[in-house]
Amino acid sequence: MVNAKTKWIYAVRCMSFALVTALLLLYASSVLSNGTDNHKFLFQDFYKASKNEVDVVYIGASGASWNWNPTVAFRETGLASQLLASERCPADAMPYLLAEAAKKDPALYVVDVHRFLGATSGDLAAVQSVLVNLRWSRNRLDAADDMLENYSEEEKIMKYSPLYFFHSRWNQLGARDFETVPYDFMGFSMRALSGSGIPAGAESAAAEPAAPKEEQLENLNLFLEKCRGLRGKILFVEAPNDGSLAQYERYIQNLVTQMGCDYLNASEYIDEIGMEDGDYQGGHHLTVYGAEKYTVWLSQYLERAYGIPDRREESGFREKARYEQQYEAYQAYKISHGVMLHKYLESVASPRYCVLIAVKDEASSGLDERDIEKLRNLGFIQTPAGVYRASYAAAESGGELIDEKITAEESGESVAISGILPDGTPFSLESGGYKASNHASVCVDGKEYSVNGRGLNIVVYDNLDHKVIDSAAFDTFLSNKPVTR
């Protein structure tokens, strides 16, 4: 016989078992929900952000998270913003992302127009990337219903649990799934570290409008419907792009302006933004360097046009420390992962950094005008340009040259420099061209940091943190200057 006490014990045991199991399943689903594409931490940040500390929400897909850098926006203009994006986010998801954004009641919603012209929901992984990040709400279920419309009954169960989709991902789990990702700088993605070409300019503004596909228009109309009743203003923005979808974007521009929303086509302002080769990756994506410029330009525009406050001097703005810390981290990452020489040299041109260069073998063939200009900006006078197989060693700090030595072309001599960095740390450089020692060495504080690869071996030292933050070798013998670290 089962008496009352045993019944209670059974009941308690059952409930604790259910609780423990539920917790483990939640943990499993949160771990398995990691993917490189879904910006899990971006969404987590969004939900954690306090309502009165978000003035702008930037919505889109990769076009948003690769082009808008919140840390730079805050640094330059004090604009408090939040990204809400996931890679290849289906167009179907846009109205629901808007509804999520509305939970933080920002003064302004910036919407990446390009996303409306993307695939609706054919990519199940992209659908799941969005669903897995949205917090449980009526909105999430609506989003799931809309996005999973054309899928099978079994797949529709995905809307209830991410585990249903990710159970097949278990064999791809890696370190990233268990630890914080280093490059999620408040959602800004560091994927586009190199690119060439310049985006289309004002000519795209003159394209003949053409209507996009019906499903895409449906999404747009649903989105516009959800815009009504929102306190904040809506700005549809078109980042600098290749103009391939210009005619649809013109159509959308006409449509949204008729509905009373604002539209800004950044292609018309690429000179003002300062777009140059190396800032643009392709399609609708800028490189991290271009994104910086675009962000600065756009945030200045937003502050002017919409009166978004500058939060830098505001007391009690709790996020300030975070913005600053993320900005620092972003800078360090940008430098330590830079792959384009001229952009790299630009990014280390700051009083904060010391640049030490030692050449090995040959460093002149691949150097072009831009590279020379950037080297000169750093304070180097001679540069290895034009001197085939010369040995070259140089050091500078904050634009001021410390020392520079170069030999003649094809010289059999190596050069060596030693000295003290502004904060007192001793350093020594040695460089040998092909006919000399054929070796590059950069020692800071007694430790060897040089990669010793062919071409320019660059070591960057941070004066404030008192440590070496990057050591890279750009193979300037080749014209595409591949980098090794």
């Binding site: 499993a28 169960i157 585990l163 249903y164 097949s168 278990w170 064999n171």
Partner: protein, 621 residues
């Protein structure tokens, strides 16, 4: 619905509390309702009519064995005044009126769209009039006829969707209700042999027509050189299983083993109990019947043990079987690219796939039944530890083997023909032969039927029938020879290594036989055997096993799953119930095991988009 589908999970989660909240006397009604819902949820629910006919016929015929046949009708209620009889007398009429109203609703397109009240009033009045005109002792028969008409209309006006299914269900329920009332207080009307013939004909006839029509027509075409097209009749869910349960019940009643069940609803529950509709086990009335109708209180241990069992079944099916299926399909799908040792690997893996699939499903079914407090008969008892093929079939699909033994082998061996044959053989060929040959011939009948049960194709009869018959007969006939050899070679037959040898031998023979089950035809099997004679043992060492559709990690998971299965089977063989064993350990260990299993199923299970987990091998039975 498949037992590993989400729909079944919801169904089970809803039905369990409903069952336990119902008063004990009505719990079997709840089970009957669940079975009805389960049946109606199949893709072709109209086939429930076949099942209903089968069940009603079985119930009726079984009742005929109860006592002597009475030519005249049993004494029935006289008039309408006998205490409370007035309401009871009105019941058939009221029943018919309700049916007629429903019928009118179905015949008109939309509810409430009764174009004019006249046809309604006329038809209802006609029904009432009929009841007044007919003597009261035929009232319920009329009601039964009416329910048949109703059901026919439900079928004619069938439209897929919820409404059609609900009406179908209502029609079947009405039919059974009327049949029950019809037969109240009546004794047997048919003589025993006639009733038996009727019951057997209807059940076996339906089975043959619905499941074997292709086979019969195909062979007829081949023999008579005709070209009749095979009819595309859909077979009801679980027809092979419930027909055999029904036959067991019928024959049991005929032989006096079992007492006939008076209530057709209870008979329906026994024959069509929903867990068995996917893949058995074949029930015996004596064992399971009364338990079904008793009802029980909520028992914590029963429910938790049942859930643990279901979890284990899900693990076997979704984690192990589904993965092995991928490898087997790849190899058999292209035997030119995968000759030699691949073939034998596929044969072995197919055995494991079949076992984990079938026994996994069985664990889910038995676990679910245990949650309702019912212990259904086991169908598997660690079959791979058997020492001989005969023992294998006492451990694999136990209920089918038992059924064949009790209802085919025994009756056959006890017929006059067999007895005369035995005498003849004893006279001409000696006592030895007389002991063996009649048995072998009896077994031949059994095995041919076994083969046929597995499917209507010659490959089943040969591969699942004759092959195993040959193995068993040879092993029995050669037994004295083997005994001499083992004695001569001083083989120790009482040790682990000998048992292992025997198990491997059985495994090999069964795996070869099951190649007929898996491959498309007998020619295909011989071709595959021939392809298996190339020499390529390096495939086990050069990572080519990871190119068969499963990557390294998934392949490892499937092997680990088999290892876990081996461990559990060994424990079962030694200690009996593993669940008992685990429940005696401390809480952290127990919970780790259960949660680990659950996580394994949820994370590693093959289900969802891209996986055809619902395609269970035995589901088409």
């Amino acid at each position: 619905m498949s037992v590993t589908s989400f729909a079944f999970f919801v169904f089970f989660a809803v039905s369990l509390p409903v069952y336990y909240l119902a008063p004990r006397r009505f719990q079997w009604y709840a089970l009957l309702l669940f079975s009805l819902v389960f049946f109606l949820s199949s893709p072709e629910p109209r086939t429930i009519v076949y099942a209903a006919v089968s069940i009603l016929a079985t119930w009726y015929c079984a009742r005929q064995f109860d006592g002597e046949a009475v030519k005249s009708a049993a004494p029935e209620r006289r008039g309408v005044k006998a205490g409370g009889g007035f309401a009871r007398a009105l019941l058939p009429g009221a029943f018919s009126l309700a049916l007629q109203a429903l019928l009118l609703w179905i015949l008109n397109a939309a509810p409430g769209d009764l174009s004019g009240m006249r046809p309604v009033v006329i038809s209802l009045a006609a029904v009432l009039a009929l009841y007044f005109l007919i003597p009261s002792r035929w009232h319920w028969r009329l009601a039964f006829l009416h329910s048949v008409v109703f059901l026919v209309f439900c079928l004619l006006r069938w439209a897929p969707g919820l409404k059609g299914r609900v009406f179908l269900g209502a029609g079947v329920a009405a039919l059974f209700f009327a049949a029950a009332r019809c037969s109240r207080g009546r004794g047997p009307r048919l003589n025993k042999k006639a009733a038996l013939a009727l019951g057997l004909t209807i059940n076996l006839g339906m089975l043959a027509a619905l499941k074997y029509n292709g086979f019969l027509v195909g062979n007829l075409n081949r023999i008579l050189r005709l070209s009749i097209p095979a009819p595309q009749w859909a077979a009801p869910m679980g027809i092979s299983f419930y027909t055999f349960s029904a036959l067991a019940y019928l024959l049991g009643c005929y032989w006096g083993d079992t007492e006939a069940q008076k209530n057709p609803g209870k008979t329906a529950l026994f024959i069509g109990f929903f867990p068995i509709l996917t893949s058995g086990p074949i029930l015996r009335y004596g064992e399971t019947g009364p338990a079904l109708f008793g009802g029980r209180r909520f028992d914590y241990k029963a429910v938790t043990f049942g859930l643990q069992r279901m979890l284990w079944g899900l693990f076997l099916k979704l984690v192990v079987s589904a993965r092995l299926a991928v490898v087997v399909n790849t190899i058999y799908g292209d035997t030119e690219t995968y000759p030699g040792f691949y073939i034998w690997l596929a044969a072995a893996l197919f055995m494991f796939q079949l076992y984990t699939d079938f026994s996994g499903c069985m664990e889910i079914i038995l676990g679910a039944s245990e949650c309702y407090g019912l212990r259904l008969p086991e169908n598997f008892r660690t079959p791979f530890f058997s020492r001989s093929v005969q023992e294998f079939w006492q451990r694999w699909h136990i209920t089918l083997g038992g059924w064949m033994r009790d209802f085919v082998l025994y009756p056959v061996l006890r017929t006059g023909l067999w007895k005369r044959m035995t005498k003849w053989i004893r006279a001409h060929w000696g006592k030895r032969a007389a002991k063996q040959i009649p048995n072998y011939l009896g077994m031949l009948c059994v095995w041919l039927l076994m083969g046929l049960w597995h499917g209507g194709a010659w490959k089943y009869i040969v591969g699942q029938g004759l092959w195993f018959w040959a193995c068993i007969v040879l092993s029995r006939a050669l037994e004295p020879l083997f005994k001499k050899m083992t004695a001569l070679l001083r083989v120790n037959t009482d040790c682990f290594s000998w048992h292992l040898f025997q198990s491997l031998r059985v495994f090999a023979l069964v795996a070869l036989g099951n190649m007929f089950f898996r491959l498309d035809s007998i020619c295909m099997v011989f071709r595959t055997w021939r392809a298996g004679f190339s020499y390529n043992p390096w495939i086990f060492f050069d990572d080519s096993l990871y190119l068969l559709g499963l990557d390294r990690k998934n392949f490892t998971v499937s092997m680990l799953g088999l290892a876990v299965l081996l461990l559990i089977s060994a424990l079962q063989e030694k200690h009996g119930s593993v669940r008992e064993l685990i429940s005696r350990q401390n809480l952290p260990f127990r919970w780790t095991v259960y949660i680990g299993l659950l996580l394994a199923v949820v994370v590693l299970g093959q289900y969802g988009p891209g996986y055809d987990a619902a395609a269970f091998i035995y589901e088409r039975f």
